[in-house]
Symmetry: C2
Subunit: 242 residues, 2 copies
DNA sequence: CGGATTCTTGACTACGGTCAACGGAAGTGG
DNA sequence: CCACTTCCGTTGACCGTAGTCAAGAATCCG
């Protein structure tokens, strides 16, 4: 029994059981529909109190936030399977904006159903919490990167993480994957200047570790890259058995 | 009807309803007991798969993580009301360690009951997710701080956040509160060196904005401090109405 | 074609890191 | 009681990573 919602963490089957008939019906109701957006489309705005939540089904996006002085911080890149809008749903306000960077397909949920959803589908509620915990885990790592890693270490770390995410999603072919962001995006994600980011990327290319041109990221030596980035190349986080 | 667990987000009353008799009974069962620890005691270790979760009832602690090269990053400071161990509960592994910095009282929960808890108490499950979202929100802000703020901005931001948290918890008396951490802790939280942190704190003291000696934080001019830290002095996050 | 956006490279600068030394406080042990 | 150690905070001198400024090339687009 397949749903249309591949990659949607709230529609996929549980590890040990498939959805019951009623469950499926409810999820259909909870799911308002699918949304397709073009590159550059804002999906949720920082500070907004949007009535919708989404899961990314395909395509890539970016989360960022702006300080009052105009500086921009990229929080993370959005991959298929990511949940968008949790903060609006439970806090009533987004702490960052989300924007599509490629053509994206999104599964749309209605926030007004969220509480009902939580009450009647504890297994899916658990999924949401799981996603939140994964994000929290990632942000902790990102924090350590900005705080403790040098530019070359930070960039290596970022490329490794992106590449691993791509691997686990099947986006990698022959050691390369689409990564349609700008150097400014990466710079803003790592708290580096554009210029320094550019020069550091050049170093990695020189050393034949990784290259990233025209939106294509190629990783030639994941091992050393991970070593420079002070990360392990271990398996990504799996959903636990419940 | 008061519980012993003041500040515990999972025992407090809901905004609109108090706990039912059954609910209370279950919470008593879910709650394994209270734990009291002395300063310096590790509560959860990074990478561990502990069978317990906690909520902080009183006292202060610190979350940190270590890179493989030995560098240390402080993730956040633990205040009363914080939830400890979500990552272990849903991911099976902590992404950071938690250590007590003062005498602490903790409410202990049993992880094996977590799933049951989620199923039978959607309202409390929602609380857990709410806490996760708050943490995620905070980490996004911290990320922006490390990435985009200068040393003096970052330190101002941190002091404002701590002070605000203290205010909302009633830990502030006459513009001052206990903040029993070291300059190294703050430095590691903000990705600054100890020396530079020290010198920057001295500047804030010179300018009569805030002082922090012997574990006592005094804030003399919250307005300007917030301005330097590029933060607003708005109200802290409240639990939404459900 | 002009304008916008991104990437690239060079020259200069500065914020913040590193090293080092010292003082005070608190704990330890002979 | 007093050496001895450890931890924390403080200050000065020096230096390097990364930021800023600036200019040019490549690409895309109206």
């Amino acid at each position: 029994m397949t749903t249309q919602c591949q990659h949607c963490p709230l529609h996929r089957k549980n590890l040990f059981k498939t959805m019951s008939r009623e469950e499926l019906e409810f999820m259909q109701k909870f799911k308002v529909g699918e949304l397709t957006v073009e590159p550059g489309t804002p999906i949720l705005m920082e500070g907004s109190n949007a009535p919708q939540m989404y899961t990314a089904l395909s395509g890539l996006g970016i989360r960022d936030t702006s300080l009052k002085n105009g500086e921009r911080q990229v929080i993370s890149f959005v991959f298929p399977g990511d949940f968008i809008g949790l903060q609006a749903a439970v806090l009533g306000e987004m702490g960052h904006s989300i924007e599509a960077r490629t053509h994206m397909r999104l599964c749309v949920f209605d926030r007004s159903e969220f509480w009902h959803f939580f009450r009647t589908h504890p297994s899916r509620a658990f999924d949401v919490t799981w996603l939140a915990a994964v994000e929290e885990h990632f942000l902790g790592e990102a924090l350590a990167t900005l705080g403790q890693r040098s530019a070359i270490q930070a960039i290596s770390w970022a490329l490794v993480r992106v590449y691993q995410r791509g691997l686990s999603l099947g986006l990698v072919t022959q050691s390369q994957m689409a990564f349609p962001f700008t150097q400014r995006d990466l710079a803003d994600a790592l708290g580096l200047s554009l210029v320094h980011t550019n020069k550091t990327l050049a170093k990695l290319k020189d050393r034949q570790l990784a290259s990233w041109n025209d939106g294509i990221l190629k990783v030639h030596d994941l091992e050393t890259l991970a070593e420079i980035g002070i990360t392990s190349v271990d398996t990504p986080m799996e959903r636990p058995l419940m």
